[in-house]
């Protein structure tokens, strides 16, 4: 592994100017002469480094600037400010040697040609990326096997289901063995089984090929299962960059205590133990201080008609929700 980071992002900003247009004919006409402009800072002064072989989760709420960042990293968008260096290339120049080494999977946009079977898109890519026969065959066999799509690749793309198409998108984006892979919500809209499969695939791919991967997703399970490191952005700004486990422990020093009762218990009786986050007839969840968990649990067992008791960490999803609500 090399010491210099594979991906270096320094003070990256990307602004968009948007025209606010009110509905109606009158404003349509006035907007011909005067169009009020507004600047959206989609990415605002973001810096991070990523080392070779890392699999980093890149998360944030809708409109946080994740996709915009990935588009800057892949050379699609011109950065308003800042520097990006990937494998010592400036992505914006879109040098062939650079483009050959990256792959981009976008969950909501297809790169496969709509009218032909995926198989033929792969062949087209083989020609474009100048992959030799042997490497192509090995690679294709590996991908087909890992994703289990022997049959689908010869069916016209428009006829494939979302999940089937998604798997083929992966093949198209990875057939040239990119060292850097950007995955923008690759599991969006997929059922749970398929999400698991894609997840396994990403993990294996990262291990097998030492590929550097940036993954965005709104499913915390994705990042939790795959990534050691998390980068969080919100409203274009970097919010957190570090270990996923530290985020879990560091940001919240609380645990969740879930109690099941024999008979109904009044709300007041429960609230003295801690903040009530969920309250059903025979079941309640209480947020308690991490350090006091055992004493509180013992006390509750003594005072309440409890049949079952469960202590767990706060799910990452909820942690992040709290972070963004602050």
């Amino acid at each position: 592994m090399s010491k210099t980071p594979t991906i270096q992002v320094k003070n990256l900003s990307r602004h968009f100017s948007v025209h606010d247009k009110k509905p109606g004919l009158k404003s349509s006409i006035t907007s011909l002469f005067h169009r009020p402009k507004r600047i959206v800072k989609a990415v605002n002064n973001v810096s991070f480094d990523i080392k070779e072989g890392e699999l980093v989760g890149f998360i944030g709420p809708n409109g946080a600037g994740k996709t915009t960042t990935l588009k800057c990293l892949s050379g699609l968008l011109y950065p308003t400010k800042g520097k990006i260096s990937i494998l010592d290339f400036n992505p914006w120049q879109r040098k062939k040697e650079f483009l050959r080494q990256i792959g981009f999977v976008m969950g909501q946009k297809n790169q496969l040609w709509w009218d032909i079977p995926p198989q033929e898109t792969f062949l087209l890519n083989k020609a474009i990326y100048e992959i030799d026969n042997k490497a192509y065959k090995e690679r294709l066999d590996f991908l087909i096997d890992a994703l289990d799509i022997k049959k689908e690749i010869s069916i016209q793309t428009r006829k494939l289901s979302l999940g089937q198409r998604m798997k083929c998108e992966f093949v198209a984006a990875l057939i040239h063995s990119p060292k850097i892979v950007f995955l923008d919500e690759p599991t969006i809209g997929l059922d749970v089984v398929m999400q698991d499969k894609i997840r396994d695939f990403i993990r294996d791919y990262n291990k097998e090929f030492k590929a550097t991967i940036i993954l965005t997703s709104h499913y915390m399970k994705d990042v939790q299962a795959l990534c050691k490191r998390l980068i969080i952005i919100d409203k274009g700004k970097l919010y957190y960059d570090g270990d996923i486990s530290k985020l879990k422990n560091g940001l919240t020093n609380k645990k969740l205590l879930t109690l099941t009762f024999k008979e109904e218990v009044s709300k007041d009786k429960l609230e003295k133990f801690g903040k009530l986050t969920k309250f059903e007839q025979l079941r309640a969840t209480i947020l308690v201080d991490r350090k006091k968990t055992s004493t509180i649990a013992a006390q509750a067992l003594k005072e309440l008609p409890i049949t079952d008791l469960n202590i767990e960490d706060i799910p990452l999803e909820q942690t992040i929700k709290e972070v963004f609500q602050r």
């Binding site: 968009f16 588009k71 050379g75 968008l77 011109y78 879109r94 790169q111 990326y129």
Partner: protein
């Protein structure tokens, strides 16, 4: 394509019926003007560069930009392949037209055929870069198609001479048009097919075509470079 051709053809046939020709054009010349023009239309005006404009507004351009392949070269090559196919089908259509209309066609001398073909090749490349420039202007507009419709279709249809031989227009208009790409797309190439009245000015016209091509070429490079900075990569 074939239908609009027949409408045009019959219109001009009807006009020339009454007075044995229009302006300086005899009937066989007028026939040739539109029948040969049909060849030009299938070869010159059949370009899919307009797709780039659509790809810019939809964000589909990203797919092209990600690949280690010059996007403009890709579109140019695709057009060339399209045109080769077109030639193949055109031969049949052309035979069909001749068979149906059995017009008294004028055939050019070998020299004029050479002039015609050289201008035809230039016209193909000129129109590629012309539509490219029009398409790339989409980087600066939000309207997906209005300017492409105006510049890519309407103006070209009127001012290239597809509908009316340009020297039948008022002279000042024709003189202005000489400084635009339009007459070099249709009017001049066909003109060399139907008679030798312009033979003396072939070289200046050829050079003028070439200059217009160069201007469009550099303009398209410039638009491409500047436009990509503006590119918003919509979608997703």
């Amino acid at each position: 394509m074939l239908v609009s051709f027949f409408i045009l053809f019959y219109f001009w046939a009807a006009v020339s019926e009454t007075n044995q020709g229009v302006g300086s054009y005899t009937r066989p010349q007028l026939y040739a003007y539109f029948i040969v023009g049909y060849v030009i239309r299938t070869l010159v005006f059949s370009t899919r560069t307009g797709d780039i404009g659509g790809a810019i507004t939809s964000g589909d351009l990203s797919k092209h930009l990600l690949r280690p392949l010059s996007v403009l070269k890709f579109f140019f090559t695709r057009d060339l392949v399209d045109k080769l196919f077109n030639i193949f089908f055109m031969i049949f259509e052309f035979a069909f037209i001749l068979f149906i209309l059995k017009p008294q066609m004028i055939l050019p001398s070998p020299k004029n055929l050479f002039y015609f073909l050289s201008l035809l090749v230039l016209a193909i490349v000129i129109f590629f870069f012309y539509s490219l420039v029009v398409s790339l202007a989409t980087f600066w507009t939000d309207q997906a198609w209005s300017h492409r419709w105006l510049f890519g279709v309407v103006l070209v249809n009127i001012f290239s001479g597809q509908a009316i031989p340009l020297d039948l227009l008022p002279t000042p208009i024709f003189n202005i048009l000489k400084f635009t790409p339009f007459p070099y797309l249709y009017y001049y190439p066909v003109k060399f097919w139907i008679d030798d009245s312009l033979n003396a000015s072939f070289l200046p016209l050829f050079i003028q075509s070439l200059l217009i091509l160069l201007v469009l070429f550099f303009l398209s490079r410039f638009f491409w470079k500047k436009g990509l900075i503006k590119y918003q990569g919509y979608g997703n």
